[in-house]
Amino acid sequence: MRALGDTYTSFSRRRFLAASAATGLGAAALSACGSSDSGNSSGKTTIEWWNITTTDPAKKLWAQRAKDFEAAHPDVKVKIVTLENEAYKSKMTALTTSGKLPDVFHTWGGGVLKQQIDAGLVEDLTDKTASWTKDYVPASLAAYQFDKKTYAVPFDIGMVGFWYNKALFKKAKIDTPPTTWSGYLDAVKALKSAGITPIALAGKEKWPGMYYWAYLSMRVAGLEAMQKAATDADFTGAGFVTAGQHLKDLVALEPFQKGVLGAAYSEPNGQAATMGNGKAAMELMGQWAPSVEKSSGKGLGADLGFFSFPSVEGGKGALTEVFGGGGGHAVRKGAPDAAVEFLKFFAEKQFAETLVKETGLIPVSKDARPALTDPNLTAVSDALNNATGFQLYLDQAYAPAVGQEINDSVAALIAGSKSPEQVTRSVTQVAKSEKS
């Protein structure tokens, strides 16, 4: 086996300068990952693995996987750092600024990963991983590919769609979930007149509201227009205004639970709890919705169903185009080879199946697909496998400022203080200022 410290012999002057600059700027942040240097005196390589898996059983399984890896590679030590979502994001911002990332780190892909790549901090994994990621669902890799190069290995993929309460739909005499937007609005009206709150939404957190606008934009303006809008920094196209108008029509029906603008997502009384306790008929949410409904509320069990976001009449998008994202692992530029080795070990079929069975992850590899038993997650997985197009979460796909402005403006649209045109104008303004 090749000495793992080799990568560090080519310690260039530039990297040295970058590193010394980084020490000055982010001394505090760095102290957390100072031990990741390979080639230390003890002869053991340490790889730092930063993830956001804070809950069991996944947390335990992941830790076990790291132990197994250490057992198979006696000269390597895996140091796990687990942070909660938001803490992870802000910590990573600090680390990225300081110019030194953990050896293996969680990523959602998209704009944030792109920023890190542009800063020269992320290893290109295209050749190193091609042999064992061949059978991955294409949609799962899309978020980590830039200029035909792959920068991360996914372990999770999912999408957003409507989760609905079958019992409440039945009560409102809706037999089949709607497939068109006008049918959807009719369903909302039917639920309302049956005295049921049609939709649970977390207005305080903004991103769940953004899902509506994003999907409507995909359906009306189309995927191409969404990409073009990002590259041209122009969201004022008619399609985006129409999408906003459709959302406004929905808001005008007052479909949300009481106090929607102050509701959080996973807190008690939040969106997931409202849905999980059967107090609202549906929510537009990612594949994690069932588990959060269960942890913040009672959960719906067999009453829970899934349907894709309806298509919009006259729009350019199709029902089979999905909006989603997942999780992957990227590797720091200059990390020891053991890091990539670890990713391969982590992706092995048997472990992928364990994750699917025990943590409810949707497999990225077609190989592990048969392990999926939950009917709702199978429906999500099918929708992903049959996807004809894929759009990554907007707050990840676009530059952070643009993603935040979309969240903000759409929240304002839902609160009634911005018109559809104003939304597109505000987003365009921010996109333009980010480009210049």
Binding site: G259, L261, G262, P400, V430
Partner: protein, 338 residues
Amino acid sequence: MTHSTSASTTSTYVPDLGKPTGATAVSPGGGPRRPALRRVRDWFAAFVFTVPALALFGMLVLLPMGYAFYVSFFNWGGFGSPTDSVGFDNYTRLFHDPVFLGDLWRGFLLIAFSLVLQLPFALAMAVLLNQRLRGRAVYRMLFFAPYILSEVITGVLFSMIFAPGDGLADKILGAVGLDGLGGLWFAGQNTVLPTLFLVMTWKYFGFHMMLYLAGLQGIPAELHEAARIDGAGSWQRFRHVTLPLLAPTLRISVFLSVIGAIQLFDLVWVISAGGPDHHSETMVISMFQYGFKRYQMGYASAISVAMFLISLVFALAYQRFVLRRDTEGAITTMRANR
């Protein structure tokens, strides 16, 4: 004669000087130089003692402040080093940003509410609890307790209490037949700020009450007695004895209240994150949003500089015009004691 005096003075100033220094001090011929030497030595000692503190202060306070000021002239995403200089653009943007202007307005409202409602309420409670009252220690403790509670816990607690429909507040109002009064609380654009102020009052009035209580304890009972003998009623005694003598405490409490309102963050962040639709956003929340959500570090720095300037101007003006008597007294006493 001169010799021995100067030697003795030296020894009073630096009682346990080492032998070599002492030798220099008493060495003949150094008469005119001695005071200067002493001053230098004093300065040197002061310097040596303050260097560690100064270094820390400079590194952890002045340097980041200077850096934020520097960054505020750039369009910078927080990655790498700032290169895209934009002059005063970030500052002119402040004046056109409805969110920032709204922050100023909301900050002003919160300060006004605090001064008009919260502090008088705290004063009333302090006067009440300064009297002989059964179990007043318990009351004092109870009213002060919220101040000790962490902002985050307070936030979570009250977002549950004021949850629309299901929260304790709505349930209680419903139970006594006042459903109409319940409502959206933190979820309504027009109700969020008043509700937030309610929580702030609950949380902070105990602190101001304690300040006032301490001030009240310092007012000699003889003055009240004398006033009573002169036929002053309770209001007159409050107005002409208590209030003037409590004035220094009041001035400090107002100062702390205003600075606290300018820097308000964690409580609001947990409760509403500035929403709905920016209706409870404060300057610090805007700064955080622009800096760490949008990665517009330049603009966020400009907000922080603006915040700093507002605080600084207020603090200086307040010291110059309001606290002048208090501080002058202190300084003159210090001079007299020298």
